[in-house]
């Protein structure tokens, strides 16, 4: 045990199941290494709870490398915690101090119902993708990568948009629980490339209409989503989507 290890107070949202009411519950964890990730700290808590015969805190996680988009958590009121461009799994306990009280909540949105404790159902994002987040191509041999010329600028912008891991931090941090940043990233990553350009207007229209249908809020251009996004997706994508939606609504089939 090094001297830097911390004792922390946690306030965690506990909710037994989707339909049941939840509440904030206080926990204490001790001897937390500053080198642990936030999720490892929660693992320590869960081991304690299991040893006491209590129900462990349920939270989503998978790769723990910041690329899968499974981890979530509102930490002290911020999506993925206080560190810029970082997922919860990549947030380290060295960002906190001994004796801190840390508030941990699930994403909150009508379209993201809490399943249990800190785990929410993000199926809504999959439904939006199904509505248009793809390109229609015939399968077959992979074409030559350089057969279609693509400008470096557009390739970069498309890759920036494609960095979206679909974690839902944009929805969680938006005061309106709007999914515009996610949807716009998924619209932009295709529409910037020739292969996706063909269906760009229909895609924007179908995905936005699905998003509205699922009960996400309206965008009020505050950019809290961009600031909270672990991948730094720009709200310029939202402007692009707005443009394509309008054009698609007027000229669409």
């Amino acid at each position: 045990m090094s001297n830097n290890n911390m004792n922390l107070n946690l306030k965690i949202w506990r909710q037994p199941k989707k339909s049941a009411p939840g509440k904030m519950v206080d926990y204490k964890v001790s001897d937390i290494s500053p080198d642990m990730s936030f999720l490892e700290m929660l693992d320590v808590l869960n081991i304690q709870l299991v040893e006491k015969g209590e129900d462990p805190v349920v939270f989503d996680h998978d790769c723990r490398e910041g690329i899968c988009g499974m981890c979530s958590l509102m930490i002290n009121g911020q999506a993925h915690g206080p560190e810029d461009r970082t997922t919860t799994c990549q947030l380290h306990m060295r960002k906190f101090r001994d004796g801190d009280t840390i508030v941990v909540e699930p994403w909150r949105a009508k379209a993201f119902p809490v399943l249990k404790d800190l785990m929410v159902d993000r199926t809504a994002f999959d439904e939006i993708i199904s509505a248009g987040g793809f390109i229609s191509v015939n399968t077959g041999n992979a074409p030559d990568a350089n057969a279609i010329p693509i400008s470096k600028e557009n390739a970069d912008l498309s890759m920036d948009a494609a960095a979206c891991i679909g974690c839902g931090a944009c929805v969680a941090s938006c005061k309106n629980a709007s999914a515009m940043l996610f949807v716009s990233a998924k619209v932009s990553q295709f529409s910037l490339l020739p292969q996706g350009k063909v269906e760009s207007s229909e895609r924007a229209v179908n995905m936005v209409n699905k998003m509205d249908e699922l009960g996400f809020g309206n965008c009020t251009n505050e950019a809290e989503c961009e600031a909270s996004c672990p991948k730094g997706i720009s709200i310029s994508n939202i402007a692009r989507m707005n443009r394509e939606y309008t054009v698609g609504s007027i000229t669409g089939k």
């Binding site: 306030k11 949202w13 904030m24 509102m74 002290n76 009121g77 911020q78 810029d84 508030v103 909540e105 909150r108 949105a109 009508k110 379209a111 941090s173 005061k175 309106n176 629980a177 709007s178 515009m180 229909e202 229209v205 179908n206 936005v208 209409n209 998003m211 509205d212 009960g215 996400f216 809020g217 309206n218 965008c219 009020t220 251009n221 505050e222 950019a223 809290e224 989503c225 961009e226 600031a227 909270s228 709200i235 310029s236 939202i238 402007a239 692009r240 989507m241 707005n242 443009r243 394509e244 939606y245 309008t246 698609g248 609504s249 669409g252 089939k253």
Partner: protein, 224 residues
């Protein structure tokens, strides 16, 4: 692809575009209103004649109807969007902290500054447009002495102060609304997005100061 007009008009994107476009048009109205107000500094005759020229033109009813439609459309859609936004998060956060890199005081208070403006507009119309009628005659034409009415109203400190506070709220409202409208419509380019944001601040300062100077000027010069 089924894309009925109703879905399009009700969509989050088009709703925000309509709020933005009506807002920008109202911004245009503010400029003409302000420039007219500045005639107050020229003198009572110029100010009253300008007012008379506006109200005696039959097209004023068309313009007023258009303006009313813009206000009602802007407010109605904004109210609808705000209610939908509240409904999109039925369970509030126990703790919510701003990142400090996104929203501003202006962007996060739009419904509130908007409500202040609505209250102000009702008060303003009731006090000035539908207020006391004083007449004055220039070149044999009888017209309303709005100059006198304006000075009379702003002689009261609370009255003038309410105007200034409302105009500060308006400046805050348009400082976000002006650039936000461009974003909603889809204007974004590295070359001009920064300029639009700066123009929004510039516009807000211009109309905020411009409309505030009047009640302050009238209060200071009228009271003595």
């Amino acid at each position: 692809m089924s894309n009925s007009l109703a879905i399009t008009l009700k969509s989050s994107v088009v709703k925000k575009q309509l709020i933005g476009i009506t807002g920008l048009l109202l911004c245009g109205f503010l400029v003409t209103h302000l420039l007219g107000n500045f005639l107050l500094f020229v003198g009572p005759e110029a100010f009253n004649k300008y007012g008379h020229a506006l109200t005696s033109n039959p097209l004023i009813y068309l313009a007023e109807a258009g303006l009313l439609a813009l206000f009602l459309g802007h407010m109605g859609l904004a109210l609808k969007a705000t209610l939908e936004n509240k409904a999109a998060r039925p369970q509030r956060y126990y703790m919510k902290t701003k990142t400090g890199r996104g929203s501003t005081i202006a962007s996060s208070t739009m419904p509130y500054t908007g409500a202040i403006l609505l209250a102000f507009i009702v008060f303003h119309l009731q006090g000035i447009k539908f207020g006391a009628v004083y007449n004055v005659t220039y070149d044999g034409v009888v017209m309303r002495d709005l100059y006198k009415l304006t000075f009379e109203k702003f002689a009261s400190l609370p009255y003038a102060a309410f105007y200034v506070v409302s105009m500060i709220a308006m400046a805050i409202h348009v400082s976000h609304g002006f650039w936000s409208a461009f974003q909603s419509v889809g204007f974004w380019h590295n070359r001009y997005t920064d300029s639009i944001r700066k123009a929004a601040i510039g516009y807000a300062v211009f109309v905020g100061l411009g409309f505030s100077i009047l009640p302050i000027y009238c209060f200071l010069t009228g009271a003595n």
